[in-house]
Symmetry: C2
Subunit: 374 residues, 2 copies
């Protein structure tokens, strides 16, 4: 039999832990008290099984529960359901970690390009990638495309829409994507270096599909999507059906899920197909600490066969002064996303963008001199 495991943090005393964990294992599978489950197949192949209980260093208890792979029906929505469907409604539970046996991981697409694929697309092998965002929401397609052109001319590798750019009447998706794609192509003809523009897909499934189809027809190869906004199963389905596209995943709506960011962004986003995952770097506008960021990065990049490694994309207030520290923190296999820190240069945004690109190159060389394994 094949299995998956979820580790939950339970805010209960050690005395209550055993009973609480058992109730949780039932809630997530049979939704009946134990004595009412008589069927031997259900008991042996469906019911969750408490495998380990240990004190949580931060208080309460960590409970590791084993589920049979058969329960998840090879389906991303049912995977979420078994991991955290009803228990999400119980405030004493947090989903802390997720593990799947190799063949269970193989039921899901994982990154179709991952670190190596995105490096090959950009032809950048020796340094962290650079990334910025087109904003604010409210600008028209011409103004957005002008910013895109500027960033491309400055040599930034990935230029993504802000995740707030939808298909607005004042900035229609089709026109924005056409103009931005033209901008990166024109810049490439002038500079000889090709940036990738990543438009934001947002909406109902049929709209996402139309947006993706249109973007692809215009030559776009990388897209931005917020899996929690559109639905994780929708995201997975797009990855499966458009395997030639690179998916950059945005964490919007993902922090509120009482699922540890390591599990949601590090494990589930990778499992379901993100080639690169944006998350808030420690010390910015958001509250993740360095240990969390390290774990997210490890889970995205570490060996997890048969799934490819994905890029961590630290963001969320990466200040100009913190660039070197962030670069050293994540090492070479990261995408450094700098948004406001470029915009705050005002009329000198072009110079600041060039300096961003040059600094990443220079700091990489310096870091490699200090640490050849960087």
């Amino acid at each position: 039999m094949e299995y998956l495991w979820a580790t939950y943090r339970l805010r209960v005393s050690e005395k209550e832990a055993k009973q609480r964990a058992r109730t949780l294992a039932l809630e997530q599978t049979v939704e009946l008290p134990d004595p009412l489950v008589q069927d031997p197949f259900v008991r042996g192949h469906i019911m969750g099984h408490v495998e380990a209980l240990e004190p949580d260093p931060e208080g309460g208890v960590r409970a590791r529960i084993r589920y049979a792979a058969s329960a998840i029906a090879a389906n991303p929505a049912q995977l979420l359901n078994v991991l955290f469907g009803n228990s999400s409604l119980q405030p004493d539970v947090e989903l802390w970690d997720v593990e799947l046996s190799e063949s269970v991981r193989g039921l899901f697409p994982g990154p179709q390009h991952g670190i190596a694929g995105l490096r090959a697309l950009l032809q950048v092998w020796d340094r962290p990638l650079t990334c910025t965002a087109l904003k604010p929401m409210g600008l028209g397609p011409e103004a957005i495309a002008e910013l895109c052109r500027l960033f491309a001319e400055a040599g930034i590798d990935l230029i993504k829409d802000d995740h707030g750019l939808a298909d607005h009447p004042f900035c229609p998706f089709a026109e924005r994507v056409r103009r931005c794609q033209e901008a990166v192509e024109e810049a490439a003809r002038r500079t000889g270096r090709r940036s990738q523009y990543a438009p934001n897909l947002i909406g109902r499934p049929e709209e996402l599909e139309a947006q993706l189809g249109l973007a692809r027809s215009l030559g776009v190869q990388v897209v931005l999507i917020a899996p929690m906004l559109v639905g994780l199963p929708v995201f997975e389905s797009l990855v499966r059906r458009f395997p030639d596209m690179v998916f950059l995943a945005h964490p919007a709506l993902g922090g509120a899920a009482r699922i540890a960011p390591e599990a949601l962004l590090g494990r589930l986003f990778r499992l379901l197909g993100a080639d690169a995952v944006i998350f808030p770097h420690a010390g910015g506008r958001f509250a993740y600490d360095e240990a969390t960021c390290t774990r997210i990065a490890e889970r995205l990049r570490g060996p997890w066969p048969p799934l490819r490694p994905a890029f961590p994309v630290p963001a969320g207030g990466l200040h100009w002064e913190r660039l070197e520290a962030a670069l050293r923190f994540y090492g070479r296999h990261a995408i450094l996303l700098m948004g406001s820190a470029l915009y705050e240069a005002g009329p000198r945004i072009r110079e600041r963008s060039r300096a961003f690109v040059e600094n990443v190159q220079r700091l990489t060389i310096r870091s490699m001199r200090d640490d050849p394994t960087f």
Copy 2:
């Protein structure tokens, strides 16, 4: 101009509140510091605006922020994004309430049948509806259909799949739905009363659509779906495209969202099209208190033109002994969902199910005698 409003609970001191609320309003719209937003259209039509700050009775501050309707692009994914996309990543913020002007509400489908439509379908006007669940996950289609037959013969109005029943190899969706639908139809021929079987839709968008199409072709008129598992925009899209179906919404994965249940289940689920919304009744296996349950019910049933009222469906450990209290608590316009309390009768599940139906009738008459407005 048209607007929507979000009220957030901020865990900050009153002194910090003004600045924190402003930062939040920017984060959810322009994602830039205020001085960097120069464009007059963006300032006037996109940027969030802090309208009110007041102490939260439970500590911290409540901040009411106004957003321009233009920001949400008439799209459910972008609605979520503007309400709580990035802020979900900031642990000091909870989305507490959502209000939309009438014309903004009209951008979304709301319940297509609602209370009156579901009553008309079942031809029950004078009492709360009864509901139960087919479980546990792991049973085959024959065993599930036998339970369905039994509940239908007992006269239960709505018989839904447990939300853990997916398209499993051991219980394929197509066979389960065919057998269960036959069971309710045969029971109707024998008893003269037609129960409705509601299969659980779960999966990727294309699977949901196939499941819905198949169920409809077999005569199914009511379906169960967990909008947070499949994605809220996917749910809304199904409601729009299958307006003849009644959608019963399940809260799985919805409790973890650090969005108040009143806002998520009471407002957003109704806005996006739920005809009936399941939620944990106070005192059961979950942690909602009575005040929360009252607010959820009010928001589902209260006037919110142009959207129809939706049924509250209290569940989650509705014990046998608590039936009368729950019935009096919610009044006539509710669906009382009793799962485990029927199964725990073991071999007497048939008698218990009949007693459930009879008690709801009897207790309704008694309640109406005590309170003619019941």
